[in-house]
């Protein structure tokens, strides 16, 4: 950083509000597409894994491998095929969400208590209705937990896509680095963190709304012995 320069130049921020808003919008868009597409793919993969157990290991292997590839290297590998496009960015971003999402969707469905499943089948639930009306709602807390982690990770990761010309808050960080100018770098970083925290908070609210039954049960339980007796005590 240039000496004598203050850490944050507020006049620069004031003069670049449009640009900052544009980059923030791009960031939300890049992350949003990645989460939605990632969720759709992970959901389909999870259905296969739940249906065909033998698919679990290969799926974990592939998504796990994707997760370990450094993002820069992945983009570099993809550029010859998909160019400096949003597709390149999204392939990478989506790839990183899959491991967490598949794991939590499959784990969430499997964590549904066996007796609940048995009771549902015994009362005449068909397979698809059992899944949509019983298993999926009960798995929601675990699934949403996975979406939260994937969302935070993705929002952080989107900053890297500026390197392949896709904008986002990473663009501000990039010009900060290139020009030895701390203000845009800080704006980009702070907004990225704030966005992650806000998205996480929003997901918590969504989950609470979707799963009112999983909130800390209000302990209105009465002990069994205090139940009204319907049978007179023996004389």
């Amino acid at each position: 950083m240039t000496s004598g320069e203050p850490l944050v130049r507020w006049d620069w921020i004031a003069g670049h509000l449009d640009e900052i808003a544009l980059r923030l919008g791009e960031h939300v868009e890049l992350a949003g597409i990645a989460i939605v597409v990632g969720l759709a793919i992970a959901f389909a993969l999870s259905l296969f894994v739940l249906r065909f157990g033998w698919l679990e290991q290969p799926t974990t292997f592939v998504t796990g491998t994707l997760y370990t590839i450094p993002s820069l290297a992945l983009f570099a590998l993809l550029i010859p095929y998909t160019g400096l496009s949003i597709l390149t960015a999204e392939i990478g971003l989506v790839g990183y969400t899959l491991l967490i999402l598949v794991r939590n969707i499959v784990g969430g469905i499997r964590s549904v208590p066996a007796e609940v499943r048995e009771a549902a089948r015994g009362m005449g639930y068909s397979g698809p209705r059992l899944f949509w009306e019983v298993e999926l709602p009960l798995a929601l807390p675990v699934i949403v937990a996975g979406i939260r982690i994937a969302t935070i990770t993705t929002i952080g990761l989107v900053t890297v896509t500026a390197l392949i010309g896709q904008g986002g808050l990473g663009y501000l960080i990039l010009i900060g680095i290139q020009r030895f100018f701390s203000t845009p770098l800080l704006v980009g970083a702070v907004l990225s963190v704030a966005l992650a925290i806000a998205a996480d908070g929003a997901l918590v609210i969504v989950q609470r709304a979707l799963t009112p039954w999983s909130r800390e049960p209000q302990r209105v339980r009465t002990p069994d012995r205090a139940e009204p007796g319907l049978i007179p005590p023996p004389p």
């Binding site: 208590p113 007796e115 609940v116 499943r117 048995e118 009771a119 549902a120 089948r121 015994g122 009362m123 005449g124 639930y125 068909s126 209705r129 019983v134 709602p137 009960l138 799963t211 009112p212 039954w213 999983s214 049960p217 209000q218 302990r219 209105v220 339980r221 009465t222 002990p223 069994d224 012995r225 139940e227 009204p228 007796g229 319907l230 049978i231 023996p234 004389p235």
Partner: protein, 364 residues
């Protein structure tokens, strides 16, 4: 809301697993319409397997299960199950649905109209002793174990099934709650008259709940008989051992005090003048003929009987008191006679320890 039962018949039903285990071996038995059949036996005996062949959660390797003459395998599994009530040990309530939504499960599945469902839910919650205003909107996590079991029973009864399957429904609650749930279920059954298959590993529960008891061992039916016959004439050593060495005592729990010939004793009213007869002991009754206790006339010094003279040590029984409970009450108090009263508490007669003991001696 009277509903009728259906005849459930097992015909040579076997279930073998690929590994070579035989869970059920040629089970043949018929449960008459409206009766409770208790399936009892040690674990691995095949009782749960038998139960699940009725709603096709398990499909037999050979043989067939008939409900009112129709082979369950000829009916679509989902449709079949919606007509059969099902209660399991851990209840399996849906945690994400309220009590009312849980009870409404099968009516929703078969597409009842909403107002009909709502009325039915309230009716059922009342039936199982849960106030709809208080419980309908709670989630299962907000209920005690006993309350959950009641909701489980209500849910199974929702669409008025002619057949109900219960797999150790009361095993997970403490003994006091269990006994209350058993009594309430018997009352509900008396009202509704559905056919019930009731799996339990507890012989006392089987004797109490079953109109007939089927004892299963290693997948085979060893004996199928009404409780009294099971206790009186166990088919073999296994059954004798399983029903327990105290089966004589257990049999007394099947007999009510009302089934005995009650003794009559000399009685006297409070406030009556003392008149000595040949029996020095009289039972003192108050103005409403409620027993106050025994008076030994030879020791009475005053001319008029009053309640403070009475010795109230004899336990009181109703006509419905089980003979076994009567016996244990007499022994606990160390007295020879118990007084039987009617619903209003009025004197009906006397049960003597000797009568009970001789009853015990008369059976095997």
């Amino acid at each position: 809301m009277a509903q009728r039962g259906a005849i459930v018949a097992f015909e040579q039903v076997s279930k073998r697993y690929p590994g070579g285990t035989t869970a059920l071996d040629q089970l043949t038995l018929t449960v008459p319409s409206g009766e409770i059949c208790a399936l009892v036996g040690p674990s691995g005996g095949g009782k749960t397997t038998a139960l699940k062949t009725v709603n096709r959660l398990i499909e037999p390797t050979s043989g067939c299960v008939l409900i009112d003459g129709t082979d369950v395998m000829s009916v679509q599994a989902v449709a079949l199950r919606r007509r059969i009530g099902y209660v399991i040990q851990n209840v399996g309530l849906f945690p994400h649905r309220t009590v009312a939504e849980n009870v409404a499960t099968v009516p929703e599945l078969i597409g009842w109209r909403h107002d009909r469902i709502r009325a039915r839910v309230d009716e059922l919650l009342d039936l199982v002793g849960l106030d709809p205003a208080k419980y309908a909107r709670r989630y299962p996590a907000q209920l005690s174990g006993g309350e959950r079991q009641r909701v489980g029973v209500a849910r199974a009864l929702a669409a008025e099934p002619p057949v109900m399957l219960m797999d150790e429904p009361f095993a997970a609650v403490d003994p006091i709650v269990r006994e209350r749930l058993q009594d309430e279920f018997l009352r509900i059954h008396e009202r509704l008259g559905m056919t019930v298959l009731f799996v339990t590993h507890d012989i006392d529960e089987a004797i109490k709940m079953g109109d007939r008891v089927a004892v299963l061992q290693a997948g085979r039916l060893v004996q199928y008989a009404p409780p009294a016959e099971l206790l009186e004439r166990p088919a073999n050593d296994f059954v004798a051992k399983f029903v327990g060495a105290d089966r004589g005592l257990k049999r007394l729990s099947l007999i009510a005090v009302a089934d005995l010939d009650l003794r009559k004793v000399a009685t006297a009213r409070v406030g009556a003048p003392v008149t000595r007869g040949e029996d020095p002991y009289v039972l003192l009754l108050d103005g409403d003929r409620r027993p106050a206790g025994w008076v030994n006339l030879e020791r009475v010094r005053s001319d008029v009987l009053d309640a403070s003279m009475a010795d109230p040590s004899s336990p009181l029984f109703t006509r419905e008191t089980r003979v076994r409970d009567a016996l244990s009450a007499l022994m606990a108090k160390g007295v020879r006679n118990g007084v039987v009263v009617d619903d209003a508490g009025r004197y009906e007669g006397i049960v003597a320890l000797d009568d009970l003991v001789s009853l015990l001696g008369r059976q095997g």
